[in-house]
Amino acid sequence: MNAPFRRKEDNRLVRGRGRFVDDEGGRALHVRLVRSPYAHARIRSVDVSAAEASEGVICTLTGAEVATLTNRFMQIAPPPADQVIDYCMAPDRVRFQGEPVAAVVATSVALAVDAAEKVRVDYEPLPVVVDAVESLRNETLLHEQVGTNESWGSLFEWGEVDKAFADADTVVTIDRLKFHRFSSTPLETYGGVVTWEASGRIDMLCNLIQPGVAMKFMAPALSVSPEQLRVRTQDIGGGFGIKQNLYPYLMIAALCSRKAGHRPIKWIEDRREHLQGSAHGNERTFLDIKVALKADGEITAVSATHIDDCGAYPRYEPLGGVIWSQVAPASYRLRNLRINFRQAMTNKCPVGPNRGFSRMQNVWFLERVVDICAHEMGIAPDVMRQRNYIPEMPWTTPNGCVYDSGDYAAMLAMAKEMIGWDDWIAKRDAMRAEGRLVGIGIGTALDSGTNNFGQSTIVNPKSGLSGNSEAANVRVGVDGSLTVIVGSVPQGQSHETVAAQIVAKELGVPEDIVRVASGFDSERATHTSHSGTYASQFAVTSVGAIHGAVEKVRAELLTVAAMLLQKQRSELRTGVFGGVAGVGTADGGSHVSFADISNLINTKTAGLPAELEDITLNCRYVYRAPFQLPDPVRKYGNLTLTYAAQVHVGVIEIDPLTHNIHVLDYAAVDDCGRVMNHTIVKGQVIGAAAHGFGAALMENLRYDANGNLLTATFSDYCPITMLNMPNIRYGNRESPSPFTYNGAKGMGEGGGGPIFALSSALQDALAASGARLNQSHYSPSDLHAVMTGAPARGVAQVSATRQRPI
């Protein structure tokens, strides 16, 4: 099962023979967007006359037209933020830099770009708010009709928090922690080739990653049936969650197509547009943190205010307002929690469900709490974790989530052994004695997968979405080959390899007769409303669906073969007989090929016996994750099916000459249940780690006070490259999930392990100075400021009060 199969898709992808959106649409018209240079401004007028007169221009589209042609997007939030008015293009007011205000359609991209420069927009700048905490003071409102900048807020309280504080031996307070804004950097930017056909069908060839949900936003806004939308994908060059926010742009392209006489329209986002106007990850500030502890370091309660920043329009938010609670206590047995969660709108790019979506922020918060408390209590960070890790599985968290399997203490022990923990402690101390700044840190990351959309009812009881599902279809071709279609939307996750592997293994046939027709097609391929590739669920939902479809096909093959071979079904099995895939008896004495069976059903149908009339050899199965609706009042219920985990241990040194954070040694141990393909799992672990290193060390989407994005090109944003990556020792443990048919768990988000481990190691390196670092990202210059006692940013105020003599 877990041999390192070669990836089926690599040959075409590595040789540049994939088919991406930008490879299509040869005869399409091209659209260029005019975007706002202001973060917040009223649009006085938009003059497209010069653009329309420009060479090659077919038509233009303005926000004002959009407001008459479409409905505003539905909002997930309950009142009052359900009143947010969000169109695919700004009609009369822009709320973030890069928000589209007009579109120009021309016969080539270059002509469209030339003409777009001739669109004259008269803006009246408005006051800007870029800080979420400040935004909640409501001095500058983004959406007046909402009456507040809060998109959603609620108190989450579980257990007996007051009692735990009263009984605590020590109470630690931390004034502020800050998780910064960054994003993923897919090689391929957003794109689509969209045709609003004269028939009414809207064909969207694109790189959306969660098409089912996007269609729920687009169809009502366009006043069409979701069935009229044909959303298709092919190869996708990375998605990482943020491609979910592509749908407003697809709508612009659709409207342009109709206006251009139903001609196909191609839109490929450029890199600057991507950095400015696609989707960013959630930024979160944690305030007024109070932690109750026992003398031995056991954390008994945590209370805090979390202020999330969703940017100018909520879009997929405020779902992040509840998604974090999938991992409310992180990897700890903590039972009493009081979190006042508030989400603010600001004049910045809207956020999207970026890899590790919302859980990563919460786990970072608790990892920081654990490390800071450990230092305050004088307990080693590994010991502190061992005392607080969840001791047994399955484990029901205070909010009713069920962690399925895993042994975090054993993972930590493994990671410690891999880097030689004791030796490193000795080396660290020796290096410190020479004046070097060395730190060792731990990060325990959770990658909760297959989420229960019922949690949306905690945000809004009227949410029409619950559970989770995926569909797959397996059919037997007339040549005996097998074709698999699944509703997933691979973006580099090797679904073709794994799908083929599952089918081949289940039927006992060679992998090379299994063809996986990957890519989504809402009209012609199979899917459900939850279909897509996001939130670490392929290994459970898609594999579950493929498995179900294979079982149906197997049953049909056996039925036909039993009749042809005059045997009982129980005497027969699928496999390879005489070198050919087929059905036969255990001794192989009697057999018939898949090809012959398929021809009987599909080709030579005259005289087909009545008993076989329901047989199709083309079987669809819908996997539905076993979820109930949570209790929205208590905010209680099982929100995800599987919990993959990673423990990262890193040793860093702060270079005294450059303040570079240099990684001296690093181990990442992953447990995602039963591993279906080690090559792929390891690739995901290393790739997710690269994201984490990038976030901690390099990538930071910074805005100035006027809402100008200061990192709108690669030379400023500077995403991580190979040369910035340390060597990673990779380890794996397998704790099969009891909740999935083969014990596998979703994985791939990584959960931000290096952000936690590096924060922890930095704190350790600077422990002697007494500084308690409070940010998830430090540039060398930031560290220099902390170390030279310059501005207070970057350091938390921490106090520890012993309430009881020991």
Partner: protein, 299 residues
């Protein structure tokens, strides 16, 4: 990411290019490796109406090393220069500088002449060439002239070139390259300009310093040459105390500005740090000890 419309001519000689430039007036620009010009055009931060491509000038890519002087054609590419000096095991400070620029794609296209003409205070060649007090040959409507790089680069992004003037060659006195040197830089990532860079060439007399050349990139509005360091160092052996003194003086000497790559105070500290690293690499090279990496990236 599409440039605005422009006309294009390919010149066969500097004289032809110069004439085309003059004729094109303000809207004309020459194109060498295109590694600065093309990105600026794609972002439409530059909108030249005429591009005069130097790529057809065949005799301007040569690298000539003789006893007195090293001459490099303006169109020699970073990769070619770096590989040539590395292969000949000559003047490591030059190969450090060339092969530390950006990534392979940029090095395979970008030219030394383009780097100087761009006059970006963060570029690497300018920092090296002001430290070595190199000269450039310039050809233009008024004929040819020689100019010290220090005089060419008196302002950020505006080289001292008259209309129609082109850089044709770069000349470095061999004497400036006597001894052992290193070019070190601290960068966020390879395909990013340095946060700061330091060029250090030391000529030894026994184990005493006979001459020392020190230059900085990204630490002012122009590349900076710190000639006073030579006076501090001459006649002394390299000791931690001497390194600390020069590093501290360098930190006070540089003129960094606050920007996204760091605060002014941080960059002063970095200047001292990189001077120290440059000394360490040079000393290691002198003694045959393993020398650390000259270019360090985040992480």
């Amino acid at each position: 990411m599409y440039p605005s419309r422009f006309d294009y001519v390919k010149a066969a000689s500097f004289a032809e290019a110069s004439a085309a430039l003059l004729q094109g007036g303000d809207g004309a620009k020459v194109l060498a490796g295109g590694q600065t010009l093309i990105p600026m055009m794609k972002l439409r931060l530059l909108r030249p109406e005429l591009i005069v491509d130097l790529g057809g000038i065949d005799d301007a890519r040569d690298i000539v090393v003789d006893d007195d002087v090293i001459e490099i054609g303006a169109l020699a590419r970073h990769a070619d220069i770096g590989n040539e000096f590395r292969a000949q095991n000559l003047c490591p400070i030059i190969s450090d500088c060339a092969l530390g620029i950006a990534d392979a794609q940029v090095r395979n296209m970008g030219t030394i002449g383009g780097s100087l003409a761009e006059a970006d205070p963060c570029s690497c060649w300018p920092a090296l060439l002001v430290a070595l007090d190199a000269a450039v040959l310039i050809e233009g409507p008024g004929g040819t002239r020689a100019l010290r790089v220090r005089d060419l680069l008196r302002d950020a992004y505006t080289p001292d070139l008259a209309a129609g003037e082109l850089i044709t060659r770069i000349a470095v006195e061999r004497a400036a390259l006597d001894g052992i040197g290193a070019f070190v830089a601290f960068k966020r990532a390879a395909p990013a300009y340095p946060t700061a860079s330091v060029a250090l060439q030391i000529n030894y007399d026994g184990d005493r310093i006979a001459a020392l050349r020190l230059g900085f990139g990204c630490l002012g509005l122009t590349p900076l040459a710190f000639d006073a360091a030579s006076d501090m160092a001459c006649g002394k052996t390299v000791t931690p105390a001497l390194i600390a003194d020069i590093a501290a003086a360098a930190s006070a000497f540089v003129e960094p500005i606050d920007d996204a790559k760091g605060s002014e105070t941080y960059k002063r500290s970095l200047a001292a740090g990189l001077v120290t690293r440059a000394f360490n690499v040079v000393e290691a090279r002198r003694t045959g000890a393993p020398a650390g990496e000259t270019h360090q990236y985040y992480g």
